[in-house]
């Protein structure tokens, strides 16, 4: 009997509602898994960081755990190490991104010309970006910079120079920057080269016929076209370099005044076990990133509008 009623109810039921009767949720459904996953994994931990930043908490002293108010923030702001790590982060990011962009632009302009073996040169130039970052940092530290048998001093020796400098201890920040520039220049070059190759040809031809010099063509045609690619490269480069941990960790272990914020926070929490202070520093980093990201997102969003046009 029950079976019968059920069958009947199936028959009597109105035909299934077509999907577009619920357009909103039908459309939202495919988005939800990704959105929920991302909120849970990236936003909730940040709330926890915010919470812990107001606690007195050293994992080696569990009994002393308690509410700390703004103490951690005061400690962090008055800590000279932290202030220098903020400065280091700015110096590191700005110098790596700017130098890589300039070198990348030069290389992209070179590779935009026709010459024998262009494909091979392009492949050679990409290689540094494809070496795993930790591996690259290790190679720079031990195989290139090593004062006794590193390649740099070996080449100096070859060329007949007597100088055998200890690269990392005499210029630690430059050493880190140089290894990162080596890795990021190919990235910038790839983006800028793609920009150059998407440039329309007709205006350049017209300008050449009208007698424009190659500098004028670069200044008034190529550069304005490349601007958005320069912005994109700079933005993406900054997102990654500002978070750099591998090079600082490997080449100097944060010593010699090269510790940046990611390294400092890693050390405060992983080695000093100061959970409260590490979290306060984390919160400050996030606030700083939000300020920078607001500008950055504006850039992307202007690019994006152009793309949609």
């Amino acid at each position: 009997m029950a079976v019968l009623t059920r069958e009947r109810s199936v028959v009597d039921r109105p035909p299934p509602v077509p999907r577009n009767k619920y357009p909103k949720w039908g459309r939202r459904a495919p988005l939800l898994p990704a959105l929920i996953f991302l909120v849970v994994v990236t936003q909730l931990p940040f709330l926890a960081t915010l919470f812990i930043s107001f606690m007195k908490w050293n994992s080696l002293d569990p009994a002393g755990r308690g509410f700390a108010g703004f103490d951690n923030y005061v400690t962090v702001f008055t800590d000279p190490d932290l202030r220098s790590s903020v400065w280091n982060t700015i110096v590191l990011t700005a110098s790596v991104v700017i130098i890589s962009l300039v070198l990348g632009l030069g290389l992209a302009l070179l590779l935009d010309k026709k010459f024998a073996g262009r494909g091979l040169v392009r492949t050679m130039l990409i290689a540094p970006f494809l070496v795993v970052p930790v591996a690259a940092a290790l190679i720079w530290k031990h195989v290139l910079y090593n004062p006794e048998y590193g390649l740099f001093n070996g080449v100096l020796n070859w060329l007949g120079f007597d100088a055998q400098p200890d690269w990392i201890s005499s210029m630690p920040m430059t050493a880190v920057v140089l290894s990162l520039v080596w890795q990021w220049t190919p990235f910038m070059m790839l983006i800028l080269l793609a920009g150059l190759q998407s440039k329309p040809v007709e205006p350049v031809e017209a300008a050449t016929i009208d007698g424009a010099s190659s500098f004028q063509i670069f200044r008034y045609l190529t550069f304005p076209h490349l601007r958005q690619y320069l912005e994109l490269g700079g933005l993406l480069g900054s997102i990654y370099v500002v978070q750099n941990f591998d090079a600082v960790f490997t080449i100097t272990s944060g010593g010699l005044g090269t510790a940046n914020l990611p390294y400092m926070i890693y050390q405060t929490f992983y080695q000093a076990h100061e959970y409260g202070e590490a979290s306060a520093a984390g919160v400050i980093v996030v606030v700083g990133s939000i300020i920078i990201a607001t500008f950055a997102l504006r850039t992307v969003s202007s690019l994006f509008k152009e793309d949609k046009r």
Partner: protein, 271 residues
């Protein structure tokens, strides 16, 4: 004649720059094939006899488990990311939800939040739930790291599917699955490949999470590398061999798909 020489000059300069940038990679490969004593000479020896001792020592030292961990975390997270990102991108391009640009920018903004700010709570959660030194947990974190990029990329590729074709197909009575399989998939395939390549490379390269959250069991190849140089004595050839092996998957994938690499790195802005 002068124009020809200028062209040749630019070509020579490009070759010179290419060689300078490539030199450390070439030197790494050459040193990896030397014996330890030949690797540690000054001035450097270019013509020393070649040997695979460095590679043999690297693999004998227990390099396989970390390499396998890296592969499973990278491939696993790439697959999960694609499964989450493709439907999301569909809802942001082909059948867009209202305010879809805001959603898109929310995804990107999570990428700008420094990983290090979330590290401590994630570590505490892992400790609390017994997930420390667990490769599955690391895989999930890599998913969250790559998901925003994947959504951006996939959206830019799916946005290229012409609306007219989709409408024509649905007027002809094609169902959703047919449209996805016959119309969307062929156009989106290159984009999926570019996305997968980028996600794989970023997961494979990651060090900070792996260093903090894994130990002897679930340690990945980059973590293994950092612990590889602490041994005594000469180790240059061994380190180079290790660096070559660990970089090889990325080098192969990147060289094989150079165009995909550019598309992926520029978040799909460059086609």
């Amino acid at each position: 004649m002068s124009a020809k020489w200028i062209t040749r000059g630019w070509g020579a300069l490009a070759w010179f720059c290419g060689l300078v940038f490539f030199a450390p990679v070439a030197w790494m490969v050459l040193t990896s094939l030397h014996s330890e004593s030949d690797a540690a000479t000054n001035p450097p020896s270019l013509t020393a006899p070649l040997t695979f001792d460095g590679y043999a020592e690297f693999f004998d030292s227990g390099a396989w488990p970390p390499l396998i961990n890296s592969f499973s975390a990278s491939i696993g997270s790439t697959v999960i990311v694609l499964l989450l990102a493709i439907p999301a991108a569909y809802a942001l391009s082909i059948k867009p939800v209202e305010k879809w640009t805001d959603v898109l920018f929310f995804f990107l903004s999570t990428k700008m939040m420094p990983v290090v700010a979330a590290l401590l709570p994630i570590y505490l959660f892992a400790q609390f739930s017994g997930m420390l030194d667990n490769i599955s947990f690391l895989t999930l974190l890599y998913c969250s790291m790559n998901l925003p990029i994947a959504v951006w990329l996939m959206r830019s590729f799916l946005a290229e599917v012409p609306k007219e074709i989709l409408e024509a197909a649905s007027i002809d009575g094609a169902g959703l699955l047919t449209i996805l399989r016959r119309v969307v998939a062929p156009i989106a395939m290159p984009g999926i490949a570019a996305t997968a390549l980028i996600c794989f490379i970023f997961s494979w390269n990651e060090l900070l999470f792996a260093r903090v959250l894994t130990g002897v069991v679930a340690g990945t190849a980059p973590v293994y590398l950092t612990g590889f140089v602490t041994s005594q004595g000469l180790f240059l050839a061994k380190v180079c061999a290790a660096a070559v092996v660990v970089s090889l998957p990325v080098l192969i994938a990147g060289f094989a798909a150079q165009d995909k690499l550019v598309q992926g790195l520029s978040l799909g802005a460059v086609k």
